[in-house]
Amino acid sequence: MSVTEDDVRRIARLARISEPSDRLAALTGELNGILDWIEQLNEVDVEGVEPMTTPVRFPLPQREDVVTDGGIRDKILINAPSSEEGFFVVPKSVE
């Protein structure tokens, strides 16, 4: 499989990255190079193989469902690019 410049534009849109117009051709070439290279996985017989989502092979505990933290509004806002009166300030998102 390979991607076209239009595909890359669409993927960038999905990833919310501004269109890399000056690098579009180069980027398309790079992604296709990588896609070609990973094609070799088709040689592997994976019939009946369970997908592996984690290397952990031990039962992991669940902690008690209780509040362990909180009341730190100012700490949470300390790195905000914009905040007012204890809230994040973000661009208008509802017309």
């Binding site: 993927i11 990833a15 990588i34 990973i38 996985l41 193989v49 290397p55 031990f58 992991l60 300390i78």
Partner: protein
């Protein structure tokens, strides 16, 4: 006067404990050396004198009372991926400009609880995506090693290039790193230092900037195998804040590092003998086999048949997880915001300007392999091959206690020499990436110099939870190699 900076972690902590020297003196000398090296090596991204000296003073107070932890009073450098309370933590990305976490990562909390003194944040590839430290927003790190008769600037490796350079140049007594595909072991090999990642889940990822969560392993850089065992010991342990943290007791790695390897079975995987591998690496590998044989080990040939599929598998899973993890950088709650006409354009501009080329490439790749119509062909397929690779290790470890391989397919290369081609760069991790895919412990030990005088490393891989054998085999290689070389100071 500051010769003590060349001591190992074990030796400096002994001197500190005996009160032959104070933690404050050591911290000031390390700060001076680190800052003086910046123009040449660029290993650090920030310092905080107040914090360093306050922590050193607190160490001195504990030492005066005869108290103190495993690494009491030793200055430790921290990869810029780990949150340190109140200190800029940017993952060397423009998108995290100005971010100062009001919290501390678990790994650094544990190091400070054992008496470590924060020295500074170290440079790295942006979001740990790279093998040469050339993708950092703060510029390249320069390897303190140079080839004989050359002044060419070499890569320290990546992504944890700053931590590796800082340890190699004797600017600190240990450093933290993270290893997602080789980001501790490859720079360790390139700088003549020891680099370790333990079993997945031994050291908590909480408070480390997330890259590819099922592959990320925090671990140390150290001057010796014993030092690495001490640091790994300090960093490990169950963390209720991290869902994949192993709820198991941490064995005594330091004692393990001193144990005999007599009778251990060492597997030599034939698939790691690559076409076009430099003869010097082949020779060093054979030397390693001979050293372990002489130490009483039995050598067995083993096969890991899916080895060649490890990197392509990795370059599906890694970008997929990265694209999900990096979705959080939207310019709303922290870091850079570049205003656009509306919310969507603000997201797009922030991410377009905030992320560098390699990071964008991975996010796009990850978005693609997870998108409707491609998920099964790429992502799901990769997860299945991942299990095949894990099964290879399971079968190999039925025949042996540890695997011995080279750490890297070459010595440190010149900055700029391969950064134009992503796949050539990815191939740097060919020997290291399998251990991340399987989540098994692995370390790189400096074992010799190539003809141009640059360090080369050997890698030891053991079954999950058996770091003890890894440290003992690593120590046996270190003893046999007698590697005492440090780069000649030119910076």
């Amino acid at each position: 006067m500051t010769d003590f900076l060349t001591l190992s972690l074990a030796d400096i902590t002994a001197k500190l404990k005996a009160r032959e020297i104070s933690a404050t003196e050591v911290a000031m000398a390390a700060l001076d050396a680190a800052e003086a090296s910046q123009g040449a090596l660029n290993a650090f991204t920030s310092f905080d004198h107040g914090k360093t000296l306050t922590m050193a003073k607190a160490s001195d107070d504990r030492l005066a009372k005869g108290e103190g932890g495993l690494i009491e009073g030793a200055p430790i450098a921290v990869k810029d991926l780990f949150a340190v309370d109140g200190v800029p933590t940017t993952a060397c990305s423009h998108i995290l400009d100005g971010f100062k976490p009001p919290y501390e990562s678990t790994v650094t909390s544990k190091l400070w609880a054992e008496g470590g003194v924060f020295l500074g944040k170290t440079n790295m590839d942006e979001f740990a995506m790279g093998s040469s430290n050339e993708t950092s927003f703060y510029g390249n790190v320069i390897n303190p090693w140079r080839a004989k008769g050359s002044e060419a600037k070499l890569t320290p490796g990546g992504s944890s290039g700053g931590s590796a350079a800082a340890v190699a140049a004797n600017l600190c007594f240990g450093a933290t790193g993270t290893d997602t595909g080789g980001s501790i072991r490859q720079p360790a090999a390139f700088t003549g230092t020891v680099g370790v990642k333990a079993t997945y889940g031994r050291a908590s990822r909480w408070g480390a900037v997330a890259f590819a969560s099922s592959l990320d392993h925090p671990g140390p850089f150290a001057k010796t195998v014993k030092d690495a065992a001490i640091l790994m010991q300090a960093m490990s342990g169950h963390d209720p804040k991290e869902s994949t943290s192993l709820p198991l007791d941490v064995p005594d790695f330091v004692t393990a590092a001193a144990a005999s390897v007599k009778g251990k079975k060492i597997g030599v995987p034939k698939e790691y003998r690559m076409d076009g591998m430099p003869a010097e690496i082949e020779t060093l590998w054979q030397q390693g086999v001979d050293w372990l044989k002489a130490a009483g080990c039995e050598i067995v040939d083993v096969s890991l048949p899916h080895t060649k599929y490890a990197l392509p598998t990795y370059y599906i899973i890694n970008p997929a997880e990265a694209s999900s993890n990096l979705a959080r950088y939207d310019g709303m709650r922290y870091g850079l915001r570049v205003e656009g006409q509306d919310l969507t354009e603000t997201y797009e501009k922030t991410r377009g300007e905030g992320f560098g080329h390699e990071v964008q490439r991975r996010i796009l790749m990850g978005t693609y392999v997870l998108s409707a119509g491609y998920y099964d062909a790429y992502y799901l397929k990769a997860l299945k091959v991942r299990r095949r690779i894990l099964e290879d290790f399971d079968q190999a470890f039925e025949q042996c206690d540890a695997l011995l391989t080279p750490s890297t397919p070459s010595a440190a290369f010149e900055l700029g020499s391969i950064s134009a081609d992503p796949i050539s760069m990815y191939l740097n991790d060919i020997f290291t990436v399998t251990a991340n895919i399987a989540g098994v412990p692995a370390m790189s030990v400096p074992a010799g110099l190539d003809a141009s005088g640059l360090p080369l490393g050997l890698q030891v891989i053991t079954p999950a939870l058996d770091e003890a054998t890894m440290f003992s085999v690593g120590a046996a290689l270190e003893d046999a190699a007698g590697f005492k070389n440090r780069p000649e100071k030119w910076w």
